[in-house]
């Protein structure tokens, strides 16, 4: 500690002197300048004449007092640097301009400085003070670039200054500056690795940053400085996953590859046999209380929800235009996804093949590795790998490799036909590769071995030497695998032997002759005779094989070849190559009997003519899977510097709760596995029926996967000013985020206060993923104001008040619960709500108030905060997530008729995950009998055409246990009941689900103008209206919304008029628009109008709504 302190003070001292001297220098320079002014006027006109005199002219120009001259000079200097010429002697002249007012000049000076600072350390120090001043500049751009340059100056003496600057910048308000600091971390680390510990602290801090701008850069620093500190990632894992879509593309690549490594250490392998993958089922199990735990443990494998989160959030990136992003997602799926899910990357990878040749090269390499293990993935796209004559050779060879990998019994004929064209290619290297490929196909697929062999034999008469040579080599390998019936081919090869000049081919033929000399007893000695003649002129490899052949023949047919062999052995004895001399000596001792070595002699035959195992022809990409796909190491097939091994899956997953983040992190809400017990407790507290809770939860997870665009659009329908102000307030809150989180957690004392907090949470929660991250601190920054704008939760408020008495502590989870139900409400609703009952504020005004929020934000902050908003600009109209959760539960199967099995269902009002045209239905199965029920599943359905997405069969349901499953039913926009059978192992029960017409809709958000426009299109036949008499309790606007939303799953449209209420939705199956408008008349009557193409639905909906509104 002391040491650190003294070091720092020393550094500060050193820096101070540097600053002072710099200041002095500038002063002195200025005086010099004025002196030189006159001198310059002479030389100015002819600056180029003196070019030879070592950049003298440039120096003069730089020292002139004219901006334009300086700029011109700097441009030429930079030109010199770009060309790689040395301009270091100009350093003193250049560095003086570092404080120039002219931005372009300054930038060029920066460029120069960064390039030469390392060589001129002392002089470079003079510039430091300028940067230090700039680091305090009010303009974030200047702060950022100052840090950029400062950290790029590779002078070790300023390390402490850099470290200080980085630490400061990491806490800067501007995300741009924070991003720069993340980059600076790497620079400092490479300059002085001893700062590692300090830098890790900064990284840790920046990892918590919620700006998408920073995420990519800080992960990059993490990878460079401390890739092994996996523990730093835990808490940020979910945030990174959720931010991923919005991070800039380069950052995505880095984050994905880091998360791949992370996931391999934290989750268990999804590749086990009999694994179960249905994420929805799993989500429900997780949300169940402890009794379910036993059941889940019975399952062979259940994917960690965090694992699923990663897979789900990376999937949309397959559609990125950036090939590196697509590749990194592909490798993530390859290394992390269950086997049957990997296929989704295929199409995208094949798409990349349309890109530049370099991209093709890398992608093909990766496909080659993948296609060895998983033929099926790429087989449907086989034709995409057909070779064009214009492809570069390395692309051709890779395509060939893949085609060979894909070959199987079914497609081999097509592939071989394709290969025939390739063999004739003008590109001989490629033709040779094709022959090898044919050889591989022949060994792998026994059906075609003969065909291939015959084809190859035909190639032996080819004019091109390389083709013939390659054929010989391949034939040799093939014959070895099945030598019995091929003496014809060997004879043929002997015939063409004289015409072959490629030594490898000649050697191959000789080896074949020797190996199978007994099958060609007449020809082999003749070949040997020819070889004896040309022996001295042959290449080494041929000579060696000649010696081999001679030896083998000597052993089998010594009568004819004894003399020839001796002759060859004699030639070999005096050969220039020691290899051949060696071999000759060895062979002679082995085969020619003499006194001493008789022992070996006996075994000569067994040694030389031992049956040899056939070579295995395999892909050169066989062993590449040891490297992570998409990496440089994979591409080079060599471990590159800095390559991080991908670890094997752990046998037992490490504690998953490490990723749990405190309440602050909204991301955790949807990942329900964490803290199971807590959750179940809170269920009891707040909800009278826990289906509701589950429904919300379900919708949560589906939202989690949704992109920010969909989420943010839901709030867009509000008026513009309101939108802005709410955004601003969120920004401020993000800045005060950390401090407030603490206080929030501890605050659980008084009930009213507690309630307030919960309420305040709700409003910002509408923004789901990214912005939700900011929502936690409203109560601190601008509590009262935010409260005024926040909503009351209709669905839960009733039960809340009942049950809150027994909640004595406000655990984080309960707060989450609150968030959850607030979250799904569109802003529209929020606006119209009043919270008189919940907030005892004296100054409560019934009019919606949002505007004051913006006052909290000081104007100066605004500019800096501009970038913080993570949400996309919302789109005008779209189907949104459910706006209301009035869960009515219907009975599907009574326990009497169901022999102990009870089934209830409800409509969770969320988009169906299986097919967009289906209505999601959740079924709660409870075992009320005293024995466990097995194999609960869905059997026959009627009408048979009914499109149902069944839930996965439930293997076992213990007594008193219950399980929630979700299914999807396509009602085709009719209220006709869906009949099907619910089966257990023993029994079958016919059940039916009859949807209320309101459940066949999906809420749709649109602006008032759009509403009127669309309504205008749906007049006449498409309009149904009626006058309704409403119960007096229902005249307030939120009561109306509540009633309408309880009947139909529609979205509320903001209205500029108090007496108009508008709701919009779409039918689930056909997507037809359904517009509901309610015009309040005097004395509690109202005109209810429904505009839709589906007139039957309209009348039914009208009836239901009428009924609902008439009720008190």
């Amino acid at each position: 500690m002391d040491v650190g302190f003294s070091l720092r003070s020393e550094a500060v001292g050193a820096m101070r002197t540097a600053m002072v001297s710099a200041e002095n220098l500038q002063l002195t320079l200025k005086t010099e300048l004025s002196q030189e002014e006159q001198a310059l006027t002479h030389t100015k006109r002819s600056p180029k004449e003196t070019h030879k005199a070592g950049n003298e002219d440039l120096k003069e120009m730089l020292e002139s007092n004219k901006e334009s001259l300086k700029l011109e000079a700097m441009k030429r200097v930079v030109g010199l640097i770009a060309k790689g010429k040395n301009a270091s002697e100009l350093f003193p002249a250049v560095v003086k301009n570092v404080a120039s007012k002219n931005i372009e000049l300054k930038k060029l000076v920066y460029v120069y400085l960064v390039r030469y600072a390392e060589e001129q350390q002392d002089l470079a120090l003079l510039s430091i003070s300028t940067f230090q001043r700039a680091l305090k500049d009010p303009n974030q751009f200047i702060r950022g670039s100052a840090l950029r340059v400062l950290s790029s100056i590779r002078v070790s003496i300023i390390v402490p200054i850099m470290l200080l600057a980085i630490k400061e910048a990491a806490a800067d308000l501007s995300p741009y500056v924070r991003k720069t600091s993340a980059h600076a971390i790497q620079k400092l680390y490479s300059l002085d690795p001893e700062q590692k510990e300090q830098l890790i602290e900064v990284i840790e801090k920046l990892l918590k940053d919620k700006s998408t701008l920073v995420a990519g850069s800080v992960v990059m620093s993490f990878e460079e400085v401390c890739p092994d500190r996996i523990d730093l990632i835990h808490k940020n894992y979910r945030k990174l996953c959720n931010l991923l879509v919005d991070v800039e593309e380069w950052g995505q690549v880095v984050i994905i590859s880091m998360l791949t490594r992370y996931a391999r250490t934290q989750f268990t392998s999804p590749w086990k046999e009999g694994a179960m993958f249905d994420e929805n089922d799993k989500a429900f199990y997780d949300s169940e209380s402890e009794e379910k735990k036993d059941q889940t443990e019975d399952k062979p494998y259940i994917m960690d929800p965090d694992h699923r989160l990663l897979l789900r959030n990376t999937k949309p990136l397959l559609q990125s235009r950036n090939t590196a992003v697509v590749m990194s997602v592909a490798q993530l799926y390859w290394h992390l996804a269950p086997k049957h899910e990997v296929n989704i990357v295929t199409k995208s990878l094949v798409r990349l093949l349309r890109s530049y040749r370099e991209v093709q090269y890398i992608v093909l390499q990766n496909i080659a590795t993948m296609s060895i293990q998983r033929k099926g993935m790429f087989e449907p796209f086989m034709k995409s790998f057909y070779v064009r004559s214009t492809d570069p050779t390395h692309i051709k060879t890779l395509k060939l490799e893949i085609l060979t990998n894909l070959a199987n019994e079914a497609n081999i004929s097509t592939i071989l036909r394709e290969f025939q064209t390739y063999v004739k290619s003008q590109d001989k290297e490629f033709a040779a590769a094709t022959i090898q490929a044919i050889g591989r196909c022949a060994t792998n697929i026994s059906e075609v071995t003969d065909t291939c062999l015959n084809g190859l034999v035909l190639l032996l008469s080819n004019r091109d030497e390389t083709v013939v040579a390659e054929s010989v080599v391949v034939i040799k390998k093939l014959l070895q695998t099945q030598p019995t019936q091929h003496s014809e081919i060997i004879k043929h090869m002997a015939k063409i032997f004289d015409n072959i000049t490629v030594s490898m081919a000649r050697a191959s033929i000789l080896w074949l002759m020797g190996e199978y000399c007994e099958r060609v007893p007449k020809i082999a000695p003749d070949v040997l005779r020819k070889m004896a003649k040309t022996f001295t002129a042959e290449e080494d490899i041929v000579k060696l094989q000649t010696v081999n052949l001679a030896a083998k023949l000597y052993l089998t047919n010594s009568k004819q070849t004894k003399l020839l062999t001796q002759y060859i052995l004699n030639l070999g004895k005096y050969d220039q190559s020691y290899d051949i001399r060696d071999r000759t000596r060895f062979i002679r001792q082995l085969i020619v009997p003499n006194g001493k070595s008789g022992a070996l002699n006996k075994y000569a035959r067994r040694i030389l003519l031992a049956p040899k195992p056939a070579p295995v022809l395999q892909s050169s990409f066989k062993d590449r899977d040891r490297f992570q796909l998409g990496t440089l190491s994979h591409s080079l097939n060599i471990k590159a510097t800095g390559y991080q091994e991908l670890s094997d899956w752990p046998a037992v997953a490490p504690d998953q709760s490490v990723r749990t983040v405190e309440v602050i992190e909204p991301v955790q809400e949807w990942a329900p596995v964490v803290g199971k017990s807590k959750k179940s407790k809170s269920d009891n507290k707040f909800y009278s029926d826990d289906e509701e809770e589950k429904a919300e939860e379900g919708s949560e997870s589906s939202e989690g996967s949704g992109s920010s665009s969909s989420s943010s659009s839901s709030e867009e329908s509000g008026s513009e000013s309101e939108e802005e102000s709410s955004e601003e307030s969120e920004k401020t809150s993000s800045d005060s985020g950390k401090s407030s989180s603490g206080s929030e957690k501890s605050s659980s004392e008084s009930e009213p206060e507690q309630k307030q907090k919960k309420k305040t949470k709700k409003a910002p929660q509408k923004k789901i993923k990214p912005t939700a991250a900011f929502s936690d601190s409203d109560e601190n920054g601008n509590g009262p104001v935010a409260q005024a704008s926040s909503s009351s939760a209709e669905s839960s408020s009733g039960s809340e008040t009942d049950s809150e008495d027994d909640s004595d502590s406000d655990s984080p989870t309960t707060q989450q619960q609150k968030k959850r139900d607030g979250k799904s409400k569109p802003k529209v609703e929020v606006k119209s709500k009043m919270e008189v009952s919940l907030l005892d504020l004296d100054d409560f005004s019934p009019a919606p108030t949002n505007a004051p929020k913006s006052l909290v934000v000081s104007l100066s902050l605004l500019s800096d905060l501009e970038g913080l908003s993570l949400s996309n600009i919302p789109s005008a109209m779209q189907v949104t997530t459910p706006s209301f959760g009035p869960v009515k539960t219907y009975e599907l199967l009574h326990h009497m008729t169901g022999k102990g099995l009870t089934a209830k269902y409800h409509f969770p009002r969320q988009p169906c995950l299986y097919e967009p045209s289906m209505v999601a239905v959740q079924v709660i199965l409870t075992n009320s009998s005293d024995h466990s029920l097995e194999e609960i599943h869905i059997g026959d359905r009627s009408p048979a055409s009914l499109n149902i997405h069944c839930f996965n069969a439930i293997e076992r349901l213990e007594p008193e246990a219950s399980v929630t499953v979700s299914m999807g039913i396509d009602f085709s926009d009719s209220t006709q009941a869906a009949n099907f059978q619910l089966c257990t192992k023993e029994d079958q029960f016919s059940v039916s689900i009859q949807p209320a017409v309101g459940e066949l809709l999906m809420p749709s958000t649109m602006s008032e103008q759009d509403f009127s426009k669309d309504q205008g299109k749906l007049l006449g036949m498409n309009e149904t209206s009626a006058t309704v008499t409403m119960a007096t309790a229902n005249t307030s606007s939120q009561a109306i919304s509540k009633q309408v939303l309880s009947v139909a799953n529609v979205g509320e449209v903001s209205s500029s008029h108090n007496s108009f209420h508008r709701f919009a939705g779409r039918t689930v199956s056909s997507g037809a628009l359904v517009l509901v408008s309610l015009e309040l008349k005097e004395s509690s009557t109202a005109l209810l109008t429904i505009n839709t193409e589906k007139s039957v639905m309209a009348s039914m909906l009208l009836r239901d709504l009428k009924q609902a509104l008439a009720q008190a």
């Binding site: 559609q319 530049y356 370099e358 004019r463 665009s709």
Partner: protein, 418 residues
């Protein structure tokens, strides 16, 4: 990540170097030159090379090599994609990416490289962002600059850099608000000797030119989105909307950009607009050969085939060609052995034909294989897959923009084997 960048011309001269970390001597390029010499054809240079201390990743574009030096493990596609982005940016700024233009604008290029990468990690690659920081040269600006000493460098942080829509700058203003979309489809096909289709698919791209004031939010929908099998988008497109409604919803970048790339599902049979009758043969005995090519329309959907062109990479032994075209003109480049027959418009009444003799190098063996023909063509006003834009809606702004959609079909990698 990316340590240094060298720009190398066709003949192997390094004409620009930029280092983002400490300086690496240009002698590292020797390894590259070695590989380049070995590969003969620049196309054949392996994109990834290994040297004792560094890794070299290069791209070859517009007769230039962009060679980057890497020191540690990095996804190679990351580097390749970035290098192409650099080339794109240069092209965007100066009209084309050529050695002479880069040399003329060396300072601007250098400044661009400085902004695009920080410590080897991409910082700003969006053309809109870059253009706000470093303005592209125009004649007017260069005149102004010399007169009053203005500069090409912007002095504020580009607004796009910080916003959630980094591809668009704020405060865009036009008097004429217009949005044009070009649907360009390319047919990739391999036909065999007899004219049967070995492989055919359609790849499409939607190029947009949007000049709209303010922050418009556009929705582009198709009559038949089901045709689209695989898509990739500009980052501005909201993927969720595409998944749910099959419509493109986006806040467009300002100016020209590629909105989406798509692949048409392979179930649909691809219509091949032309047929080719060809006969190329080389004689066994004499050092010469004969060539006879006729092209005719097959399924052109009632439109004229334009810009028809046939390119043939002849075997090395062909020394000259003596041919007569009935339409258009032909050239034979002796150095590259490429025969180009530029036909122009295809007249269905009078089919274009090219015939004549080829002479081979005396003594050279008869070429093993006949060269394949690469066809280029263009059909205006039709997308061969049948894809149709149904409408373009604009939200968020009040004015009425002028909208236009254009369809073009081209031949992509269209090859006829002979």
């Amino acid at each position: 990540m990316i340590h240094s960048l060298f720009l190398i011309n066709h003949s192997g001269d390094i004409f620009l170097e930029k280092h983002w970390k400490s300086v690496i001597s240009r002698s590292v390029c020797d390894y590259f030159f070695e590989a380049k010499d070995k590969a003969v054809d620049p196309e054949n240079v392996p994109p990834v090379l290994q040297t004792p201390h560094h890794y070299l990743i290069s791209i070859y574009r517009d007769k230039l090599f962009f060679l980057s030096v890497i020191q540690t493990e990095v996804p190679p596609l990351f580097v390749i994609e970035f290098l192409h982005r650099v080339a794109d940016t240069i092209q965007d700024y100066f009209g084309e990416c050529s050695e002479s233009l880069i040399k003329d604008n060396v300072v601007t290029v250098y400044e661009l490289l400085e902004e695009m990468l920080d410590n080897g990690f991409p910082l700003a690659t969006e053309s809109n962002v870059l253009k706000e920081m470093i303005r592209p040269p125009t004649i007017l600006r260069s005149v102004v600059n010399t007169l009053i000493g203005g500069s090409n460098v912007g002095d504020t942080l580009p607004t796009g850099q910080l916003s959630s829509v980094p591809w668009r700058r704020v405060g865009v203003k036009y008097t004429n608000n217009e949005a044009y979309f070009d649907v360009i489809e390319e047919i990739d096909a391999i036909l065999d000797k007899s004219g049967t289709t070995v492989f055919a698919e359609i790849q499409g791209v939607i190029e947009a030119c949007v000049r709209l004031t303010g922050m418009p939010d556009l929705t582009l929908s198709f009559m038949n989105p089901r045709l689209l099998d695989d898509v990739s988008f500009h980052p501005c497109v909201r993927f969720k909307r595409w998944e749910s409604e099959q419509a493109l919803s986006f806040i467009p970048p300002d100016g020209n950009f590629t909105l989406m790339n798509y692949h048409v599902s392979s179930q649909n049979l691809v219509t091949i607009p032309v047929y080719v009758k060809q006969n190329i043969s080389f004689f066994e005995t004499e050092p010469c050969g004969r060539l006879d090519i006729t092209i005719g329309p097959k399924q052109t959907m009632g439109k004229t085939v334009e810009a028809l062109m046939v390119t043939i990479h002849m075997p090395k032994s062909v020394v000259s060609a003596n041919l007569t075209p009935t339409q258009g003109s032909y050239t034979y480049d002796l150095a590259t052995k490429v025969l180009v027959w530029d036909i122009g418009k295809l007249n269905p009444q009078k089919l274009p034909n090219l015939r004549g003799s080829l002479s081979l190098q005396a003594g050279a063996p008869k070429p093993e294989d006949n060269p394949s023909l690469n066809i280029d063509l263009k059909i205006q006003q039709v997308a061969i897959s049948g894809l149709k834009v149904s409408r373009l809606e604009m939200f968020g702004e009040k004015y009425k923009p002028f909208k236009g959609v254009k369809y073009v079909t081209k031949a992509g990698k269209f090859q006829v084997r002979t």
